[in-house]
């Protein structure tokens, strides 16, 4: 099935000369319309996860490669194709205050897309749509509509942003750290609504975060990024319980689980070999405790774990020469194929 949205060998670099950073490195990833799952794009700062979102939303132009929606390059779309793209690919952002223009009432966040995408035939119908969506996310329309952003709490504002996604019923939703700036007690509610968007409306959702606990809680599959490349990908339960890639192991080991019986275990040993010179190999080499010669020569491709396949569960791949010998997912293949049974 042709992907709904696709990054085809996309590379994004910033700056030039000595200050050149490769934010995303030759990434091929596609979301398929009949695969409505929540996929986490996980990584720390500098991993490329935000860049990936900005590329998918058409806010950054790729340096190399193409970004496609319904098989059309989004940077070469006609006016009507662009409208369709904008209508069907939506987002929930991190900062519950910054997405609102402080000048206008919060109703705007909902009413403007309804108007622009002609989702209602009359003002009354539009109002009805808005009220339904707000009730669905656990808000009371009479307490939220007509207010200005600063009059509501962060949790309320973020829920309105989720209600907006409900109203628009897009074909793809990208959620960028939707709960990191929200109080702990409200996170579960918002994550639940995101889950419901996915389960009830069958919308595939890309969940971008650095917080693996919420990723574990809400998503099905996970991609772990490090400095612009995918290090590991697979079922989220599997990847977190049994990480294959040394970087993922380091990440998972550092998760502060809210459970005093699940304390940080043995610290993962830092690499004793000093790898300081520039090399064309694995990006994690300089921090990896298992680094060897081959790691410095070329970047490892994604090796598909054979034991996972044997158990006939979903694919689990990691970009590490420790797993050399297994089947390889090439750079031109869509990562999402990994998650198909």
């Amino acid at each position: 099935m042709a992907p709904l949205m696709e990054l085809r060998n996309v590379t994004k670099t910033f700056g030039g000369g000595e200050n050149r950073t490769i934010a995303l490195d030759d990434m091929t990833f596609g979301v398929e319309p009949d695969f409505p799952h929540i996929i986490t794009i996980a990584g720390e700062s500098g991993s490329g996860k935000t860049t990936m979102m900005m590329l998918l939303l058409g806010f950054y132009e790729p340096t190399l490669g193409t970004v496609l929606y319904n098989n059309v390059n989004i940077w070469k779309m006609s006016r009507s194709e662009t409208v369709d793209f904008r209508r069907n690919v939506q987002a929930v952002f991190q900062d519950p205050f910054a997405v609102y223009n402080p000048f206008y009432k919060v109703d705007n966040l909902l009413s403007i897309p309804i108007k622009n995408f002609k989702l209602a035939n009359s003002k009354k119908e539009a109002r009805q749509l808005m009220e339904n969506a707000l009730t669905r996310v656990g808000l009371r329309p009479e307490e939220t509509l007509g207010r200005f952003p600063h009059q509501l709490s962060g949790g309320q504002r973020q829920r309105i942003a989720v209600a907006r996604a409900l109203v628009l019923n897009p074909k793809l939703l990208i959620a960028d750290e939707p709960v990191s700036m929200v109080d702990a007690s409200l996170r579960a509610t918002i994550l639940k609504q995101i889950r419901e968007l996915n389960q009830d409306l069958h919308i595939p959702i890309l969940y971008i975060t650095h917080d693996l606990t919420t990723a574990y809680h809400v998503s099905d599959y996970i991609l772990v990024l490090y400095r612009g490349s995918v290090m590991e990908a697979g079922d989220v339960e599997q990847v977190i319980r049994d990480p294959k890639h040394p970087y993922t192991k380091l990440l998972v080991n550092s998760i502060p689980w809210p459970d005093p019986n699940q304390l940080w275990g043995e610290a993962v040993e830092a690499s004793t070999k000093k790898v300081t010179a520039e090399h064309a190999g694995c990006k994690f080499a300089s921090r990896c405790p298992h680094v060897f010669e081959k790691c410095l020569q070329s970047q490892p491709p994604l090796f598909i774990s054979s034991e996972a396949l044997l158990k006939s569960t979903v694919g689990h791949a990691s970009a590490c020469y420790l797993y050399e010998g297994s089947d390889v997912l090439t750079k031109d293949q869509n990562l999402i194929q990994l998650f198909h049974k």
Binding site: L57, V83, F93, D95, V99, Y100, N101, P102, I112, S153
Partner: protein, 283 residues
């Protein structure tokens, strides 16, 4: 309206500045009812008269009634400032928004022009331009437009900078995702947010405009018949009012100038508070 009054109470700088400015405007408009406009131009034999019952503001050395001159002249100076400020800011807004939001080649060209333009002393430009006109054709409007020639650049640059920071904000991204077109975003999302900044820029522009016009007029460039503040000072200097001890002739334009400029500065300071929001947002 009540909100506005409350705001002026909380922001005394803005309130006082506005108050003074309104007072000056009233003086120059309502004041006309109390004077005979011709008195500002007609030369009489009552020259060099200190303030008295017939001439409450005194007369100058040509026998012109200073009250009439002040009333008319204040209005003229304010008008020059308004035109200079308004046109200068208007051009600055259009150029600044287009360069800031759309970027690209236009932005690069505009920034280069502004950078070069602003290194040339504005006063030189003004003198060069103004002296190509015959002084009698330099009415208030013309003076305003000439002065606007130098004020647009600073505004454009400042506005461009503001637009650049706003462009990356999540609410602009949200607007794009909601199907809003670029022009719509500029008009509906960016301009309202920049309103305080724009009003402050207007205040600064008007200030600059008045200052520049004073500079030109004080050295005699401009319509010598117009009793603007600058022209009055020109004559004060030309006819050695200091040596003759004609204090009222010196004091009056100076007071008006000080009041005008101070009120503009106060307004600007007052608006700076909301133009630079450092509100901490609690989530």
């Amino acid at each position: 309206m009540k909100g506005f009054w409350d705001y002026t109470k909380r922001n005394p700088s803005f309130g006082i500045g506005l108050f003074i400015l309104l007072g000056l405007i009233l003086f120059s408009t309502v004041g006309r009812l109390f004077i005979n406009q011709n008195d500002a131009y007609t030369q009489t034999v009552d020259f060099n008269q200190p303030p008295n019952s017939k001439h409450p503001f005194g007369t100058d050395n040509q026998g012109r009634d200073l009250l009439a001159m002040m009333v008319l002249g204040t209005g003229m100076t304010l008008e020059i400032g308004a035109i200079a400020g308004g046109v200068g800011l208007g051009a600055g807004i259009v150029l600044g928004f287009v360069a800031g939001y759309y970027g690209g080649l236009f932005d690069t060209i505009l920034t280069s022009i502004i950078d070069v333009y602003m290194t040339i002393p504005s006063f030189l430009i003004l003198i060069l331009v103004a002296t190509t006109f015959r002084s009698v054709t330099l009415g208030v409007t013309e003076m305003g437009l000439i002065v606007a020639l130098v004020s647009w650049a600073g505004s454009a640059r400042a506005i461009r900078a503001q637009v650049l920071t706003m462009r990356e904000r999540p609410f602009v991204m949200m607007a794009k995702l909601s199907g809003m077109g670029s022009l719509e975003i500029v008009m509906k999302e960016l301009v309202p947010n920049l309103l305080p900044f724009l009003v402050m820029s207007l205040s600064n522009s008007v200030y600059g405009g008045i200052s520049s016009s004073l500079g030109l007029e004080a050295i005699g460039i401009g319509n010598r018949r117009n009793p603007t503040m600058g022209m009055t000072l020109f004559y004060v200097n030309y006819y050695s009012a200091f040596l003759l001890g004609l204090w009222w002739w010196i004091l009056e334009p100076v007071v008006v100038i000080v009041l005008t400029l101070t009120s503009l500065v106060l307004i600007s300071i007052g608006l700076d508070e909301i133009a630079n929001p450092r509100r901490r947002r609690k989530v």
